[in-house]
Amino acid sequence: MIQSSFTERNLRILFPLPAVVFIGLLMVFPILYTLYLSFTNWNLTSGMEASFVGLNSYLRVFFEPRFLRAVGRTFSFTVSAVAIEVVLGVAIALILNRAFVGRSLAKLLLLLPLVATPVAVGIVFNLFYDPTIGLLNFALDAIGLPQGRWVSSENTVIASLVLVDVWQWTPMITLIVLAGLAGLSEEPVEAARVDGASEWQILRYVTIPMVMPVILTAMILRLIDALKTFDIIFAMTGGGPGYASETLNIMGFKYSFEYFRMGQSSVILVALFLVVLLCSLGIMKLRASSEN
C-alpha cells in the first residue's frame, strides 16, 4: 500500500522517465558528443586520437566556399519549395473545400505522396527527368519546346529537386488547411454574404484570415522538414553534378561517412542543428502567440 502510494505520488516523474532517459541517451548525449568533436580535428581514417584544436575546425569550414554555397543552397531550396507548396497547397484546399462527388477519393489520393518512400520517389523522378529516355524531354519535344538536362545540369538541378519536393509535400499543406477550414464556423461567411460581399471578397477578407494560423503552422512545419531534406537529393543526385545540389545535410553526410573527417563534419552538423533549432523555436513562439 505504501509502495503504491509512492508510485502514485511520483507518477508525473515515473511515467515519462523511460522516454526521457531514452531521448537523453539517443539524442542529447550524441548532440553533446558532436559539439565536443567539433572542437577537435579528429579524422577517423587517420587512426589517431582526437586532439583538441579549439575553433580551428570552425574556421576551416566557415572559410570553405563549398560550405557557404551549401548554406545558401539549403536556404534557396527550402524557401522556394515551401513557398510554392504553401501557395499551391492553400489554393488546392480552397478548391476542394466543398461537397462534391469523389471528395473522399480525392483526399485519399492526396495522402499517397505523403506516405510514398522518398528514396523510391526520387528514383522514379530520375527516370522522368532522364535526358535521353525520360518522359519530360519527350513531352517538351512533342510540343516544340527545348529539352533540358534537368538533374544532370548545374543550372536546373535545384529547380528539378524542388519540383519533386513540391509534388510530394504540397498535399500535406492541403490536408492541414482542409482540416482547418472544416473547423471554421459558418457565421462570419454568412454574415459577409448577407452584407453583399462577393465570393472573392469573402475569400480574401474572411476565410483566408480565419485559417491563417493553420496556414502558418503548416508552413513552418514544412520549413523545418525542408531544411533537412536528404533522401530525394541523395538518391537523385548525391549532391551533384559537382557540388551543385549539395545542401548542408548532404555535405555533413559526405564529410561524416565518405571522408570520415569527424571534426569538420561536426561543425557542419552543429551549423545545420542551429539552423533547424532556430526555426523550431520560431514555430514554438508562433504557436504560443497564436494561442493567446
Binding site: F15, L26, I123, F138, I176, K228, F273, S280
Partner: protein, 272 residues
C-alpha cells in the same frame, strides 16, 4: 445563370481531375515501367502500349533477396513502434494529465532535429560497441523516429478523454496507474491506431539511418532499392519493380487506415 452554373461545375471537375492526374502520374509511370522490358523502357518515344512482362519482379524477388529486406524492414519497424508505444504511452498520459508542456517540447525536439546530428555520433558509438549491422542499433535509431510521433499523437488524444473517467475510479480506490491501464488505455484504440500506422510508415520509409547503420545482414528495403542504382547501367525495370514493392505496403496501410493517417498528419497544426 443556369448555364453559368454548369460551366463552373465542369470547370471545377476538370480542375479536380488535373490535380488527381498530377498526384497519380509518378505512381502510374512507376507501375507501368515495372512491367516493361529494358528495351521498352529505353525506347524513344516512350511507349504507352507494350507487352507487359513479370521479369522485373522475378528479378527483384529471386535474384535480389528482397524477401529478406522486406523481413528486416518489417521487424525493425514493428519493434521500434512497439517499444515506442511502451515508452511513449505513459509519457503521453503524463504530459496530458499534468500539463507538462516543457516535457512535450523536449520529446518533440527529437522529431524536429536533423537526424544526421545524432547519426554521426551513433556511428562512432555503435562501431565501438560492435553493434554495426545489428538489429539492436537499427531498432534504437528507428525508435527515435517513432517515439516523438507516438507521444505527440497520444498526448493530444488523451486530452480528448475526460478526466472524470479515471478520477471517479480513483475515488473508488483505484490507483492512477491502474486507472490508466484499465480505463484510459482501452478507450485509446483510435489514437493508438493513428500513432502506430504513422510511426510505422515513417520507420518503413527511413533511408538515412539504415544506410549508415545497416549492412548486408540487417539491410532494409529503402537501401536495397537505392543499391539497385549503383550498378553500372541502371536496370530501370528492376528499380521500378523494387520501388513498387517498397511503396505498396505503406500505400495499402494508408488506404486501410485513411482517416487515422489524415488525423495524425494534420494533428500538429489543427487543434481539436
Amino acid at each position: 445563370m443556369k448555364k453559368n452554373k454548369i460551366v463552373s461545375t465542369v470547370l471545377f471537375y476538370l480542375l479536380v481531375l488535373i490535380i488527381a492526374l498530377v498526384v497519380l502520374f509518378p505512381f502510374l509511370w512507376m507501375l507501368t515501367s515495372s512491367f516493361k522490358t529494358q528495351v521498352d523502357i529505353i525506347s524513344w518515344p516512350p511507349k504507352l502500349f507494350f507487352e507487359p512482362t513479370l521479369q522485373n519482379y522475378r528479378k527483384v524477388f529471386e535474384e535480389q533477396d528482397f524477401l529478406k529486406y522486406f523481413f528486416n524492414s518489417t521487424l525493425v519497424g514493428a519493434m521500434a513502434v512497439g517499444l515506442s508505444l511502451l515508452l511513449g504511452l505513459p509519457a503521453a498520459y503524463s504530459i496530458s494529465r499534468f500539463a507538462q508542456k516543457k516535457l512535450a517540447l523536449f520529446i518533440l525536439l527529437a522529431r524536429l532535429m536533423p537526424g544526421i546530428s545524432f547519426l554521426m555520433p551513433w556511428y562512432i558509438i555503435f562501431s565501438r560497441l560492435g553493434l554495426m549491422d545489428s538489429y539492436v542499433a537499427l531498432i534504437l535509431s528507428h525508435m527515435l523516429i517513432a517515439l516523438p510521433i507516438v507521444v505527440w499523437i497520444m498526448s493530444t488524444y488523451f486530452n480528448t478523454i475526460p478526466r472524470e473517467l479515471e478520477e471517479s475510479a480513483m475515488v473508488d480506490g483505484a490507483t492512477r496507474q491502474l486507472a490508466f491501464l484499465k480505463i484510459i488505455l482501452p478507450l485509446s484504440g483510435p489514437g493508438i491506431i493513428t500513432a502506430t500506422t504513422l510511426s510505422f510508415i515513417f520507420s518503413w520509409n527511413n533511408f538515412m539511418f539504415s544506410q549508415v547503420l545497416s549492412m548486408e545482414r540487417t539491410k532494409t528495403l529503402p537501401i536495397a532499392v537505392y543499391n539497385f542504382l549503383s550498378y553500372a547501367e541502371v536496370d530501370w525495370g528492376g528499380v521500378m519493380a523494387a520501388a513498387v514493392a517498397i511503396m505498396a505496403p505503406a500505400l495499402i496501410l494508408t488506404m486501410i487506415f485513411q482517416k487515422y493517417v489524415v488525423k495524425g498528419l494534420t494533428m500538429g497544426a489543427v487543434k481539436g
